[in-house]
Amino acid sequence: MIAVQNITKRYVNGSINFLALDDISFTIQKGEFVAIMGPSGSGKSTLMHLLGALDVPTSGTYLLDGKDVSTMQEDELAVIRREKIGYVFQSFNLLSRATVLRNVMLPLIYAGVPRAERRARAIRALQAAGMTETHFDHRSNQISGGQMQRVAIARALVNDPAIILADEPTGNLDSKTGAFVLATFQRLNEQGHTIILITHERDVAEYAKRILMIRDGKIEKEEIHHARRTQAEEST
């Protein structure tokens, strides 16, 4: 489903010539929960931008559901993003002046989903992300950080994307709330969603079933293990 072949990404800015990704290849199957782990400057953010169709590689191919994303133009990438990808960011990136429900409906607006359908789909996504209905009409700056990230997860889910990309989703949360959010990802994975988690923390990466470790733009090693379980998961 995701096939990355010999991808390199080179940044050229004046005299600076920086190789962020150096000939990377891997595949991720549908329904996997993969963590991409590495220290800062390892190239994991660059890789996430490529996987998330925010950028294209300098060379190599990236096949997403059989489509070659690596040669697409800006507006084509936007279509891929709204149809295939759901993002969860470290800093949530919610529209603070809009309600919880409207934040979740936003991708549906760009996808051209009819108005009547949007609300029902947003409510379903919010419930799947573990949000309680009492908050739906709150403005998104009136809820807690953990709730904000659940709203962001619901927004990522609402378009039923092929992959959910989470970029340091627990970075702005305390460890307990972070554990809740990670448990939510595990639950979504069990329901069949493909999840890619980008992090620099080992204990966060261990929530995934497979870990790709990146250093200096190369895959250093790959681990497959039993995912870590939390008490938070057991209590949900």
Partner: protein
């Protein structure tokens, strides 16, 4: 994205920063309102000047004496001094110019007019019964001069209301009383209706007497000082003007039009001149107001640029969840358009009220025309697009990765 979605986004964006939106809009409101008021005042002035020219008479062609030339052309007197225009000229015009509806010759001079205990100095116009039709004079009391009065050299007079007020007191009954013009007694047979000043002469401050009477008893010669001709319609005016010129040149045995001892004036030319003055005036006012509109537009651009910078992360997010360049461009363009259109509407309303107030409290005529309202709307929409496009374009071109990282 549907139009409704864009409107909803626009509403959310503008209402989340009400004070700033309102202040930005104020620039457009003031700009549009001042354009509306200025154009209204300009057009009002144009209308009232035209009306006052038209009140002298419609489709009027006037023949006035030209320059007196001595034999040998050594000494030239001023224009209007020639005593070459006669009753016979007027009759000839009436007879041969078929496009002339009515012809009214007149001989006017100022005289001292006395009555019991009071006196005044005013214009005495010797004329014919066609005068009221040609010069749009209406009667308030009594009757105007009749053909019979002309035939018998009757010493009768019709007074303008101002003269009546001066001699007999405000609204006093004057018909039937007598006045003395140049020590000759005249009986008052009518009072004309007040017309107000016309800018060129005041028809209310005049005394009308039969033309032959004026020639015989007052002036002592047989010339006329002006012939007013009413053309059948506006299109015929220049033809009439040309025909009269040709006729009078022939009658006065002049071969060179440069040497004409008369001038033929066309009212349309006077209206056109006055119109060109007032349109210049209107354009001047409108362009001053237009400057404030441009300043308002720059205010919009400034706010939109600030907004784009402030919402960089939001733009990054929108792009990340699938917004295309066009979606972002339209969203910001709609915000600018909403500001200018709402501002424009308020401005039109405010301008309308201000124009009304100007008429009410300062007595200036003002006309808010539909075209100026339409223009104001068009201009505010255009300002929205012109000044909103650059910020919107900048927003749409943001790189989503950098935009998401923006602090």
């Amino acid at each position: 994205m549907s139009l409704l979605d864009f409107l909803e986004e626009t509403y959310l964006a503008l209402s989340s920063n009400k004070v700033r939106s309102a202040l930005t809009m104020l620039g457009i409101v003031i700009g549009i309102a001042s354009v509306i008021v200025m154009v209204a005042i300009g057009q009002g002035a144009q209308g009232s000047i035209q009306a006052s020219i038209q009140s002298v008479g419609s489709n009027l062609v006037i023949v006035a004496p030209g320059m007196q030339r001595g034999f040998g052309a050594q000494v030239n007197a001023g224009r209007g001094s020639a005593q070459t225009l006669t009753q016979a000229d007027a009759d000839a015009i009436e007879k041969t110019i078929t496009l002339a509806k009515a012809v009214a010759p007149e001989l006017s001079r100022r005289y001292q007019i006395t009555t019991k205990g009071k006196n005044t100095n005013t214009q005495v116009i010797g004329t014919t019964p066609t005068y009221p039709e040609v010069r749009k004079v209406e009667m308030d009391q009594g009757a105007f001069l009749s053909d019979q009065d002309l035939r018998v050299l009757a010493r009768v007079a019709v007074l303008g209301p101002a003269v009546r007020d001066d001699l007999f007191g405000q609204d006093a009954a004057a018909v039937g009383q007598t006045i003395r013009i140049n020590a000759i007694e005249f009986k008052i047979i009518g009072i004309t209706r007040a017309k107000g000043g016309t800018g060129f002469s005041n028809a209310d401050d005049a005394v009308y007497v039969p033309l032959p009477t004026a020639q015989r008893f007052l002036a002592g010669d047989m010339y006329v000082s002006m012939v007013s001709i009413e053309a059948v319609n506006q299109d015929a005016m220049s033809t009439v003007q040309q025909q009269i010129t040709d006729l009078l040149l022939e009658r006065h045995r002049l071969s060179n039009p440069q040497a004409a001892d008369f001038n033929v004036l066309n009212q349309a030319d006077i209206v056109a001149t006055a119109s060109s003055i007032t349109s210049t005036f209107t354009a001047l006012l409108a362009s001053i107001a237009g400057i404030s509109l441009i300043v308002g537009g720059i205010g919009i651009m400034n706010m939109m640029l600030t907004t784009v910078t402030e919402r960089t992360r939001e733009i990054g997010l929108r792009k990340a969840i699938g917004a295309q360049r066009g979606d972002i461009t339209y969203q910001f363009l709609m915000e600018a358009l909403a500001l200018t259109c709402i501002g424009g509407s308020i401005g039109v309303l405010l301008g309308w009220i201000a124009a009304w107030a100007v008429t009410q409290f300062f007595g200036l005529t003002s006309v808010v025309s539909l075209s100026s309202v339409a223009l104001a709307f068009g201009v505010s929409a255009a300002i929205g697009i012109v000044f909103g496009y650059y910020p919107a374009h900048r927003a749409a071109r943001l790189n989503p990765i950098e935009a998401l990282r923006y602090e």
